[in-house]
Symmetry: C2
Subunit: 382 residues, 2 copies
């Protein structure tokens, strides 16, 4: 397999973007990435998208978006793994370039959620329909059960959950692309409306529109496009039991651990080598479970990480410097690519007020549903 | 890139399968493929599916179906390019194995259409929403316009279209897996109900349920699984303008030509080397346009191929020996894999009453929407 690098990125602001359609959002992000690399052609395009069919009545995004970009003809396809669709699109681009099949590949993610009046129902189609969705449970409910299990097992508190939100909003306030650029206090979070107890409104990521894109090329060609390429050292994809009821321990994310194990092995790195990480905090409890399954903290201690400041900017291992899904926003198909962009900027030293000093190795973790699919990428400064 | 082979296949019957759910269908096909190869593990699973979110309320098929197969943990994802989703799944498996990232990969396709009461509307989400679907046009209408254009340009007649259906039903009658195992006469087709003139009911593929799966491994490992592997000599994916209104000549399928050009180049074969082909006859006119764009006949002469018997079993170049989408059925996400299975069986000499004598090189062509995406694979007997 050839060494692979990201050489450019483009991203819309995330938020309730009433004036932009799905194709507008994609075109803005993709055009920016191509312009930043001064690239005038693509060999392939992979689009991560969860549910444009249900959200806006449009499937078949590969050719639609290639055409929108003025590149009808290019090999293009959509990939989907619910909220991990963006991460899977990046993996597809990585394998495509690593294989030698293509030399210039755009990995993009896009979701237009705010046009739908049934967002919660559509998102629920990422759970197990027969064992979960049919019975009326939605994602806040599934993650509330995970939170309850973590509380029972490890003594996690509502305050622990809330510190994750406080941290991520503090980071998001520094990110010009974030949906919420406002700090929130512990009290704000603890007093926000209950959604699915113990989860409150400010423990939940929002409904968002947005798109993100990165240009992926062989590392050997990277200097043609930028003087600061970022190597994709590894891509690990894994699944786990779909329904919560099928899992041994719902407070632990098996698929995240398996995807991380594959990525660490491919990269020749371990958790201790990671300087900055973006993880999938669709709900505050998800960040706690993710950093445990990634091995970034000891099992059962993820609850203390935000409270103690370990995962804040300036802490031992800054997590979700972008603001995470919580504050940056979570246009589901775009999230995995947006995570990669945050790490790309961190490793290039371009993260501005969010910059982690001397970040050399970064990690992204993007998951689908209640964690039944997970993709981990590891990136290195070249 | 490593050489890649298919070593086993599994497929459900295609039809209105009221007793089987999406996951049942997938499990039947996938289990059969694994059993035929005596394979007890997978490194990765790619599932082609167009619209399970809209048809049956289930996205996130990667982990769901890995779990259903008893293989929770495996790297798995869904790929989508409307009715070309199966072909894109096969391409994903091909690249995955060719890259060296995985050694044992299942490429599957599945669609459960008959549970939906809005099949035509869901399928229309594969067209350009803003330029086509919003205005009420559906796929029979789009292909009717393509047929009209071909008639204007090349003198194609309703009888020419009808001979395609007669041929494919004749082939389908020999296929135990086909939805329609009944021959139809020219008169039957010409007198069937108008759907979107000039297209009549018997010019249209049906609404179907079904699944298909193939096991893809490095050619160097293939003999561990079977004594008759079939090499995937090439995989070509391309797109073209999404909306008919954006195309220079709607009677010609640019994306099909581009995908074929890529595949022929990769395989080192030309159209003259092909002994048997499965092409995407979602409507009779589509087969005529496809064989022209693939270079299997001269441009403008596809209309005569079925009438003259050239593309029938026993003819110069048998096309759609399986019965094609018309008679075998068209569970959209499964179609691209089912096409590959027909060629796999032909090249192994296992096609029974449909066998093409001494078939050495075969081709599949699978497309999405009104031809905005197309995937061509070329296969060789080893």
């Amino acid at each position: 397999m050839r060494d692979v690098a990201i050489v450019a990125a483009g991203m819309t602001r995330f938020g309730e973007l009433w004036d932009a359609s799905l194709r507008d959002l994609f075109a803005e992000a993709a055009t920016e990435a191509l312009k930043n690399a001064k690239a005038d052609h693509l060999d392939a395009l992979f689009v991560g998208n969860m549910s444009a069919g249900q959200f806006v009545g449009q499937e078949h995004l590969g050719p639609l978006l290639a055409d929108e970009l003025g590149m009808a003809g290019v090999a293009a396809a959509r990939v989907e793994s619910a909220c991990a669709s963006g991460g899977v699109a990046l993996r597809s681009a990585f394998i495509e370039v690593a294989s030698g099949a293509s030399d210039v590949v755009l990995a993009a993610g896009v979701e237009k959620m705010t046009d739908s009046t049934e967002v919660t129902e559509v998102l629920a189609t990422a759970s197990d329909q027969e064992l979960e969705a049919y019975h009326g449970i939605t994602f806040p409910g599934l993650y509330a059960m995970i939170a309850r299990a973590h509380m029972e097992r490890w003594g996690t508190t509502e305050e622990d959950l809330s510190w994750v939100s406080v941290k991520n909003h503090k980071h998001g306030a520094l990110n010009p692309k974030a949906q919420f650029r406002s700090a929130v206090s512990l009290d704000d979070v603890m007093r926000s409306s209950p959604v699915a107890e113990p989860l409150r409104l400010l423990h939940c990521s929002p409904v968002s529109d947005g798109a993100a894109a990165v240009l992926v090329v062989p590392l050997a060609d990277a200097k043609r496009y930028t003087d600061r390429p970022v190597r994709i050292a590894a891509s690990g994809l894994a699944t786990g039991p779909m329904a919560l009821a099928s899992r041994k321990d719902i407070a632990f994310l098996d698929a995240v651990e398996a995807s991380a194990r594959r990525a660490y092995k491919m990269a020749g790195h371990g958790p201790a080598d990671i300087n900055v990480a973006e993880v999938h905090d669709c709900f505050a409890i998800a960040e706690i479970c993710a950093i445990e399954a990634l091995g970034l903290v000891e099992r059962g201690t993820g609850n203390a990480a935000a409270r103690k400041g370990d995962t804040a900017l300036g802490g031992r291992l800054p997590v979700n410097t972008s603001g995470g899904l919580k504050a940056k926003g979570h246009p589901v198909g775009a999230t995995g690519i947006a995570q990669a962009i945050e790490i790309f900027e961190q490793l290039r030293g371009e993260a501005g007020a969010r910059q982690v000093a001397d970040a050399r190795v970064g990690l992204t973790q993007n998951m689908g549903g209640s964690g039944a699919s997970s993709v981990v990428h590891i990136f290195e400064r070249v």
